[in-house]
């Protein structure tokens, strides 16, 4: 297993969905930074289950306890250890899953790789592991904010309902006003209605998250391999259920001519900038000072409330129906996770 993210700003994460606690250690945090624990808690609250009708009803306070690395309200440069105790774990909900492989979950591959299997809610393969990332990201974000760097992500697609406007035409301050975290009010309504229908069918659906990072200094990224886009892609593709990553014009760039895609350099009161930003803020693997933006695709939640065929661990075919508490779509709750991973990746590239 590899449970450490980052080279300079490093999060090492631990914990299982239905174990005693989750937590982690943030190492490489610069000293002397004022850290608000409330702001960390706010980010956890954004990811918390049970915040609306489409997310799992599991009731977790997700209260973070910081154990080290701070003194008199500031970071000391020492590692920040933290834990989040599980309270509403119901491992017994999973007893009848003990011997079968849930479709498109990690059950089969993890069992084959590790030999043993913590079947309680997927154990460590559960998206509940993301709480540790959200804490790490909330610390990174506060450090980035001291340098004026802002990160915002939003739901840009649920099923076939897709927000095709550029982020520059949206008011990103309205993201949190809708439970689906889409800043286009009309589209947010449509997404809500669609999620209600999907939920009624006992089904789930995929979607996408778009993320924008503003005021990034010129010079982040370490070619030829650790290009900034490679680090961001790695960070995003390490999130549960992520299936694709694109930045700048992304897959649309495949259809473009050089004469259309090239970003003209201009002088903006003495500062060299680009007139357009098809490059998405990264050229030659290094940030160029323009906004960085990228999109992450997520598959539909694998647990559905319909009968499905699968096999048990002996290979015998069985029919299963899910029980328990599950999301209809991960995308709204993935928004803070995308931001957290982006914050850690950018800070790691800066230090």
């Amino acid at each position: 297993m590899s449970n450490t993210f980052g080279k300079r700003f490093r999060l090492t994460s631990f914990g299982e969905s239905h174990g005693i606690a989750l937590g982690g250690v943030v190492d490489g945090c610069p000293p002397g930074i004022e850290l608000s624990i409330e702001k960390i808690q706010q980010e956890l609250d954004r990811r918390r289950p049970g915040q609306d009708q489409f997310s799992t009803l599991r009731n977790e306070a997700d209260k973070v306890e910081i154990l080290s690395g701070m003194f008199e309200g500031k970071t000391t440069g020492m590692p920040i250890g933290f834990i989040i105790r599980n309270s509403d774990h119901k491992p017994e909900d999973y007893d009848d899953l003990k011997n079968l492989y849930r479709l498109s979950h990690a059950d089969y591959t993890w069992h084959r790789k590790y030999g043993v299997r913590d079947y309680r809610g997927g154990g460590r393969s559960s998206a509940r592991e993301h709480v540790s990332r959200v804490v790490g990201g909330a610390i990174a974000r506060q450090i980035l904010e001291t340098k004026g760097i802002e990160i915002a992500a939003y739901t840009s697609q649920i099923g076939n309902i897709s927000l095709d406007k550029s982020y520059t035409e949206l008011d990103l301050k309205t993201i949190e006003q809708s439970p689906v975290r889409c800043p286009d009010k009309d589209l947010a309504e449509k997404m809500l209605a669609f999620l209600n229908k999907v939920k009624g069918d006992g089904d789930t659906v995929g979607g996408a998250v778009t993320c924008i990072i503003k005021n990034v200094p010129i010079g982040l990224g370490e070619p030829v391999f650790d290009r900034l886009q490679a680090q961001l892609a790695f960070a995003m593709m390490s999130i549960n259920a992520a299936k694709g990553f694109e930045y700048g014009k992304g897959f649309a760039a495949a259809t473009m001519k050089g004469s259309e895609h090239n970003d003209e350099f201009i002088s903006d009161n003495g500062t060299i900038r680009t007139k357009t930003n098809h490059s998405g803020g990264i050229q030659g693997g290094i940030s160029n000072g323009e906004d960085i933006f990228f999109k992450v695709a997520f598959k539909p939640v694998a647990t559905i409330f319909k009968e499905q065929k699968t096999t048990d661990i002996s290979g015998a075919e069985v029919v299963m129906t899910a029980r328990g508490r599950h999301d209809v779509c991960v995308v709204p709750r993935a928004v803070p996770v995308v931001e957290a991973m982006a914050a850690m990746a950018i800070l790691d590239a800066m230090l």
Copy 2:
């Protein structure tokens, strides 16, 4: 800079486009493997410039010299040092670029980050650096082949001409029959005609490469961060001009329901497999034994033979027209690079 790829099977690459030589060191190579230097050379030949009318006319033999790590035709487990000398470098072609920033190239960001600038053909930011990757990949591929693992990539899109069939309907043995490396004969013809037109216009165009990896053992990938898809995404997004990565159903998964996307487990003569493969061979971050497949989007080549506005290093606006020798589309020559990076990423995950 970060010029080492991989954790266990590691390529460290060096060299500039118009310097004395490029090369690298492969460390972590298992001992006792018969290595064919001819096969390494064949892969270099596939990426070599000047092989058709759409690629740069630069004339390089790209002859590899292996300096260490082999004894009596076999690997010894020791690091494999290799070099490829540049012969047809014409740094003088670049003299008039010395003081200006080419559009959508690495000129500006690298100059800002490193302070000095090797303006000769982009120096190390040139895609010519990929020769080192092709050597590393060709070594990795030969090791994978001893375990039955096969890798094949092809051009699946050039501009709006897109090959939408699944790879399972194609004859992958025909890839090399067309200079565009598209295994659909009709589409390959259309792509060729289109490239001729774009070349005539002095323009360039983007595209995409699809890659398939067969016979991957169950168990590759190291969650929670170093998931196999995260490692592949990192590898692909480290290639020059890559703008997007998706695996399995990719961005299309965002539009799907759980009931459509889930891959049913079945027993295939005692072996547990999946009936469909929307997961793209990876579940919970770990390979499940099914084919792995993914797609990489590439932007159009930035150097075009049309007048363009940019600035010089002082910020003054200038008009430039490219000279020299350049590709119309990187995609056909990116095919062996995608394969090389895939081979190294998979072998690295196996060791």
Copy 3:
């Protein structure tokens, strides 16, 4: 800071001497190993303060809580998070040290490097950090034991009282019978008497620990840089107060001829072994199957109960006398720490 030890079996440690808790995360632990938490606690008890008259009187239960990575008594391959809460922290003991630099402590260098300073008992620079290492080592040791590998360390020197016999002439089972952890009964008595005298003088003294690792498989170590002795030296020199490391004949080898030092290969019932073991179980950077043995020198504890001159943070010279609770000699309590670091280094080299 760098708070992660190991490449494959990795301990990430956190916590300060007078903070809320210390702890860590063990990542890379193989799955399916039965782990006894009692055995982990036993190792912590061996390092616990207040166990005899020569160690600090600080009263800490040092009770470990395992938070993840185990299921039904066995490791799962998932990261093992653990914490040890501080109970007897008296930060107020340190208020008058807030503005001065204790001699030969980390106060000055850490203040200069990090800018902020957690002056409470040295914060993270305190040897109390070793509790996390002892937990990591106790986990590693249990895994090594399943493969028959045994590790034993003992006090081989305190001041000028030095145990010069080879470990092969000692009964290593008697180490724990003396509070100084010296397996030579007579010498142990002398050391005790000497420590009593030093304590009476308000002074402290240095010493050395010898460590033996038996039944190490042939082949550990990764030349040319990560030789097994380099990894062990790194591990030992990362321990607080360590000043020197030697293995095999060590510094005495400098005085020897090749004809004296060379270890003759012999056939021992078909197994190739060496007749002597001047090499200390490592040849060419790789274990050869013979016992590995090495010695670590420790400086005297820096806190003494005598008046000493130093400066305050403004550079003004001041006279200080220590208060609080401190060891007379670190060596007896360093014995389990040396074993812990050895266990982690060896397991890391094996995986």
Copy 4:
């Protein structure tokens, strides 16, 4: 194998004693530094075989060729690839060693670990690999010199002839005046006479090297694990034939009282310094601005011109006598290697 040294300033080394070439890649080198290739060559010349009557007569020009990473005389921040071709390799000298294990060499352990064996002069286990380190070190040293940091090492012991004076009493500029590299003229004569005698006996002898690093900035070292002394110990113990490492008072500290060993802080015209330097320039794992000094013990060369018993690869006992060209004592030629590793370790800690 692990052939990369360093985390930020990284040397990746390749090549065998009797292969085509040795070489390496230096990555992480800061841009804009004027590099003298002559100075690199001078360091290689200091390590070159055949420079006096005690070193192997192998005749190698050891001419370095820099292939990348420099432009107009300066570093560019790009990786510096370099090679040194072997010329006087006589693999046939080793034909009769093909099937036996030389005593206290790497033959046995490397054969067991890697399965295959490049028996030509020890292949990669030969100290000839150090040429790559010397190049890396010579680059690092030039960068350190721009910051006023100086490194000097000398022979402080050969057999029982030991230079016990502190380095502060020696004129380090005279080191190169004697072929044994001992700055005490009388002792140097005695060492020479002793080496002549040992050579006449067909034997070899061990020794020690002392190294001093001046003008190191305060703040190098990354506790709790990557303490500066741990990094230096690792670097030194990765050198062929090294058996021990100590810094500051080293093993002598074990015999001292706290009241003797503690370094008093004083104010030196407003700068806080220590009155004595028993700490060896490192406190709490971090440089304190005083001179860093350490000592490395080396075992005698394993190849002697006397009959010795060993076994062949089948385990049968055989009698062998060495042929070929070998050093009587590695220590004089280890001096530039110790300096090279020190330079790389210090620069790596600074970046």
